[in-house]
């Protein structure tokens, strides 16, 4: 186990290095970072000054090496535009991002598994069709549409939930619910397929033949196996969400990492882009590790007996 973890951690470092290079290139590739760090009414001389002060007049390889050197000392630089250490900005955004990711995924799982199992078990029947149409409705509506409709109904018309902000637990409901609904729709189909596949497996028939009660069969064998593609999907989704659910954050004014990063990219805020991408990369890689660990825990062909 330890060796495995060390191996994975070594890979993570490599991944982060690759990400840091890519982030560096990304931030420099078009538009002029010095221009965006200067105010909109800057004169060309002002822009030149800014370029010098921020070290943007050095050659790209030189800038990258300086950047690496600073990271080695734990210095992730200061945002050009916000003028505070990038870590300060990120640290403030990670808890809300994590909260939104986990809660929405939790909602998705809670909604998707019962519906997916029911649909898979009743396969071809009424429950299946109804479930699938509901799922489609949830899946085909973009998050911003559902989000704004939810706001119009629940915040403006009925005033039961707040529309935006990060002020209390009630503020989490709409964004996590909207996002969770969307994730749930996709997830249901995978649960359904997984259940159908597993119901056809030999060992399920065997268990039934042994005389085990149906429900026990379902939960112990079917659910676990059907979860393999689901776990993959959740793992991927979590990675995506840790990159920030950009649209959700924009609609609900949720202070997540996504909107910070979009803003940084669009404004060529080089240090912030780099730091944010590396932070996201780290969390995504950790999520992947968790998923792979879970494979082992879930697959019945791995456990004993």
């Amino acid at each position: 186990m330890v060796r495995y973890l060390i191996e994975r951690l070594a890979y993570t470092v490599l991944v982060l290095l690759a990400v840091s290079l890519a982030a560096f290139l990304l931030a420099h590739l078009s538009g002029d970072p010095a221009l965006m760090a200067a105010p909109p009414d800057a004169t060309p001389q002002q822009v030149a000054e800014v370029r010098r002060t921020l070290g943007l007049d050095r050659s790209l390889p030189e800038q990258y090496l300086i950047f690496l050197g600073r990271i080695a000392r734990g210095d992730f630089g200061s945002s050009f535009r916000h003028r505070v250490p990038t870590l300060h900005l990120l640290a403030a955004r990670i808890p809300p991002t994590l909260l939104l990711a986990l809660t929405s995924l939790g909602i998705a799982v809670v909604m998707a598994i019962p519906v997916g199992v029911a649909a898979g078990v009743s396969r071809g029947g009424a429950m299946d069709l109804v479930g699938r149409i509901l799922v489609t409705l949830g899946q085909s509506a973009p998050v911003f549409w559902t989000g704004i409709m939810a706001i119009l109904l629940l915040s403006v018309r009925w005033r039961v939930l707040p529309a935006s902000g990060y002020e209390g637990w009630t503020h989490l409901v709409l964004p996590a619910g909207t996002l969770g609904l969307y994730s749930a729709s996709e997830l249901v189909r995978f649960v359904r397929t997984g259940v159908i596949d597993v119901l056809g497996e030999d060992y399920v028939r065997t268990a039934r033949a042994k005389g085990l009660p149906s429900r026990l069969v379902l939960f112990r064998h079917v659910l676990r196996n059907a979860l393999i593609p689901v776990i993959t999907f959740i793992g991927l989704r979590f990675g995506v969400l840790m990159g920030g659910a950009v649209v959700t954050e924009a609609v609900f004014g949720w202070p997540g990492v996504g909107s910070l990063m979009v803003d940084a990219v669009l404004n060529r805020d080089v240090p912030l882009v780099q730091a944010a991408l590396m932070a996201t990369a780290a969390s995504v890689t950790l999520a992947n590790l968790a998923v792979d660990l879970m494979y082992g825990a879930i697959d019945p062909r791995i456990s004993h007996g």
């Binding site: 699938r132 549409w145 403006v156 189909r189 596949d197």
Partner: protein, 292 residues
């Protein structure tokens, strides 16, 4: 005994003839066909030009909701006919979506197959590459590339494919990993069957089900990804109408002119219902584990 182990697992399950006509499949076929037809002939069917602006007739409601008869589904924020834009917008939306998932699927499934079947160093390397790419939030990568390269249709397809191939690869890999532990694969290997034969006859058919589901999910996701990119200003550029772009542009008016965003949304929903139902139907027919 040997024969039994060689044959694909048989399933005597829910008799397929329980429902004479699969309503889901039929509906799926009809809706998908409708969407395809609109994509092909939309511009000819449109009653107005999709780019015809009438600033004096902005945000007019649909005919059935009290508006003028000339505009069945109302007008948008520049006075353009929404029905015409939906009809014309089907093609770019679908083209981009389809191209993206074909590209992503072809590459992703191939990679996932190879990676999951052969395991070893190849698998490790591929998965790490996937990790590096996944470490970049897809929407950010898309945004950055489009900001640099310009939001052309081709760039959009590439960017969407780039963000989705990993999902195909990973899910394929997961399925293949589980499959290769099954006896019939082991038996086939013991009998000296070549890799290509095993993949073609045993692996591919068994993953086809999941792949079909994934494909129909991906098509929707691709169309909605274009909508999300429009939300950020990087989707297919105006004035070309796309369903995703129209839903995004109309969202500011949801409170006062709901039809601008919701009509294209309905078109999209109907299309998605069609793809999903059709995809599930095909999956049920194709999956060898369910053949009696």
């Amino acid at each position: 005994m040997a024969e039994a182990a060689l044959a694909p697992p048989r399933v005597a399950r829910v008799p397929r003839a329980r429902i004479k006509l699969d309503w889901g499949g039929a509906l799926g076929l009809v809706l998908t066909a409708a969407v395809v037809l609109v994509a092909l002939f939309g511009p000819r069917l449109a009653p107005h030009g999709p780019l015809e602006q009438t600033l004096e007739a902005r945000l007019r409601p649909p005919a059935f909701a009290g508006g003028a008869r000339a505009h069945w589904l109302g007008t948008d924020n520049l006075g353009r006919d929404i029905l015409s834009r939906i009809l014309v917008g089907a093609r770019p939306s679908l083209l981009v979506g389809l191209s993206a998932i074909l590209l992503a699927g072809a590459f992703g499934i191939a990679v996932g197959l190879v990676s999951g079947y052969y395991r070893g160093t190849l698998d490790k390397v591929v998965m790490r590459v996937a990790d590096v790419q996944l470490a970049f939030p897809a929407i950010l990568l898309a945004l950055a590339i489009l900001a640099v390269a310009g939001p052309s249709n081709l760039n959009l397809v590439v960017v969407l494919a780039l963000s989705w191939w990993v999902v195909f690869a990973r899910i394929t890999r997961g399925e293949v990993l589980a499959l290769r532990e099954r006896e019939f694969i082991g038996a086939a290997v013991a009998l000296g069957a070549g890799d290509r034969h095993i993949v073609a006859r045993h692996v591919l058919p068994n993953i086809a089900g999941t792949m079909l589901v994934l494909a129909s999910v991906s098509l929707t996701r691709a169309i909605l990804a274009e909508a999300a990119l429009s939300f950020l200003g990087m989707g297919i550029q105006p004035p070309t109408p796309t369903w995703g772009g129209m839903i995004s542009d109309g969202r500011a008016y949801l409170a006062v002119a709901w039809w601008v965003s919701t009509m294209p949304g309905l078109a999209l929903t109907l299309g998605v219902i069609g793809f999903n139902l059709l995809g599930d139907y095909l999956r049920d027919r194709i999956d060898p584990r369910l053949r009696s």
